[in-house]
């Protein structure tokens, strides 16, 4: 295992400590070392935006804590949900008296821990409502949408909800717009290599040289098919077709495109994918209003990329384009 770490079971502690030291202008630690909060949180009267999940997806989740974005985040072990207490503490840190929106991804552990945290907070009189992201088209068919995992589309959900909360939306409105955001967002991933969890020490699964896995999950959950590696054009076409199959997007739509590397893929390849995608969406008469490209939601040292598309209406467009500041995403 070729890694720059201290003890494998301290990767999360060490890196979060370094991250907080490096970004004091944006965020700070809390009494719970597994919770960090934005310097603007809590803002009295503003809905608090909370998320959380396993580590190893950096900059997600900590990288989206900042101004007009996520207020507090619960940090789990590598690829493992934060505990109920961590979620509860993040909710407490984000609570400005106007309730808390906990916007997270659809994984069994996160579902259970958030559910318990919400119960705890309720006893304290803090209202928490949740939206569960399920943007990963490849993880279940449309008629079992509730089973789909949440992946990089979560970033757009946080962006929209963070902007909405900053603009004074109340809790129900924030929840409604976050739900609309994720309902309008679909993602799909392609994996070209495995990844290694430091505490495990060997690759998490296997992708043979020359092969790629379409629809892979960002913890390496097996995809829908293993195929020979194809050109970026063909791979982009496969990803786009998977997304279009849901029939959410239609000619004339305005969209946000988010392309994330999974960690070890050079970012110039993400731009090759974007270049292909522009031509394909042009042909479909779908207009790209915004794009976010980079290592935005990773899987440790996995090679591959994810494509996320969000369909815009006037409200979503305004919220996506509103200014924000964080290490993972900034808009001027």
């Amino acid at each position: 295992m070729q890694r720059l770490i201290n003890r494998p079971d301290e990767v999360v502690e060490d890196s979060v400590r370094g991250y907080v030291k490096a970004n004091q202008h944006l965020l700070s630690s809390t009494d719970n070392p597994r919770v960090i909060k934005s310097n603007w949180s809590p803002t009295k009267g503003k809905v608090g935006i909370v998320t959380g999940g396993g580590s190893g997806h950096e900059p997600a989740f900590i990288g989206y804590v900042g101004k007009n974005l996520v207020d507090a985040v619960a940090i789990g072990e590598i690829f493992s949900s934060p505990s109920a207490k961590h979620f509860a503490d993040a909710m407490r840190a984000a609570n400005g008296g106007a309730g808390v929106a906990c916007l997270y991804g659809n994984y069994a552990g996160d579902n259970m821990n958030v559910k318990m945290a919400v119960k705890m907070l309720k006893r304290e009189g803090i209202e928490v409502k949740t939206v569960v992201a399920n943007d990963d088209v490849a993880s279940a068919p449309l008629d079992e949408k509730h089973k789909r995992r949440g992946v990089a589309g979560e970033i757009l959900m946080w962006k929209v909800a963070g902007a909405a909360a900053a603009q004074g939306y109340d809790l129900d409105q924030v929840i409604a717009v976050a739900q609309k955001a994720i309902d309008n967002t679909l993602s799909v991933g392609i994996g070209l290599s495995s990844c290694t969890i430091p505490d495990v020490g060997h690759p998490n699964f296997n992708i043979d040289p020359g092969k790629m896995e379409i629809g892979i999950g960002h913890h390496g959950e097996p995809g829908v098919s293993v195929e020979d590696i194809c050109s970026a054009d063909v791979a982009t076409r496969k990803m786009l077709d998977t997304i279009l199959h849901d029939e959410l997007f239609a000619s004339g739509d305005e969209v946000v495109v988010l392309i994330s590397g999974l960690g070890a893929t050079p970012i110039n390849e993400l731009y090759i994918v974007y270049d292909s995608l522009c031509d394909m969406l042009d042909a479909h008469k779908i207009t790209i209003e915004e794009n976010f490209i980079g290592n935005l939601f990773t899987s440790l040292d996995m090679m591959g990329a994810t494509l996320t598309m969000m369909k815009l209406d006037d409200e979503l467009k305004q919220l996506v384009q509103a200014p924000c500041q964080s290490t993972g995403l900034s808009k001027f």
Binding site: G54, G76, E77, F79, S80, S81, P82, S83, A84, K85, H86, A108, G109, M112, N113, K115, M116, I197, D199, V200, N204, G217, H219, E221, P222
Partner: protein, 210 residues
Amino acid sequence: MIILSCENLIKVANKIIESKQYLSDLDGLIADGDHGINMAKGFSMAKEQILACSPAPSFAESSEMIASTLFNDIGGSMGPIYGTIFFSLSEVLDRDQIEAVALYNAFKFANEELMDISEARKGDKTLMDTLACALESMSLAIADDKSDPEILAAFSEGAKQGWESTKEMVAKFGRASRLGERSIGVLDAGATSCYLIISTLVDSIVADLD
């Protein structure tokens, strides 16, 4: 009469701690190989806490300590799942001398609480299979008016059957679920830890039976 004390739970914790590698290896066959790590971490911390108390805490108090450690420090699925189980036990088993039927009621309550937070059901290749079979077997023994030792034996025996039944199942929950058919032929890690917990608890109770 069944006598409950923190000792029962110390033994359970020891069992989990010594099975760390075995549980991780099983998890590694069809999922991410950390079940032993997660479980051993939680039960070591809880054990320290129980042992640090003086006087020795009651079964219910110890059970609550396990639950809160799991809720506080163990993320993933195991924190809320086993946290819910031990929290439920601590709520119901508030006396130190009980009948076997009271143990049954406590685990039945735990199982119901669990179904409230997890969508997994019997047959989905999770620890639910161990728990559900254990409860069914125990309830039959109770319906048959069996003695406490027989009821306890049925509990442990049912847990074992439930555990072993996961081998031929297709995983529907957790990381193993994405393997589909390829998950057949391997015992479920969570079902294994659940069997170890139930059988160790039963063994320790039986050893103390008067």
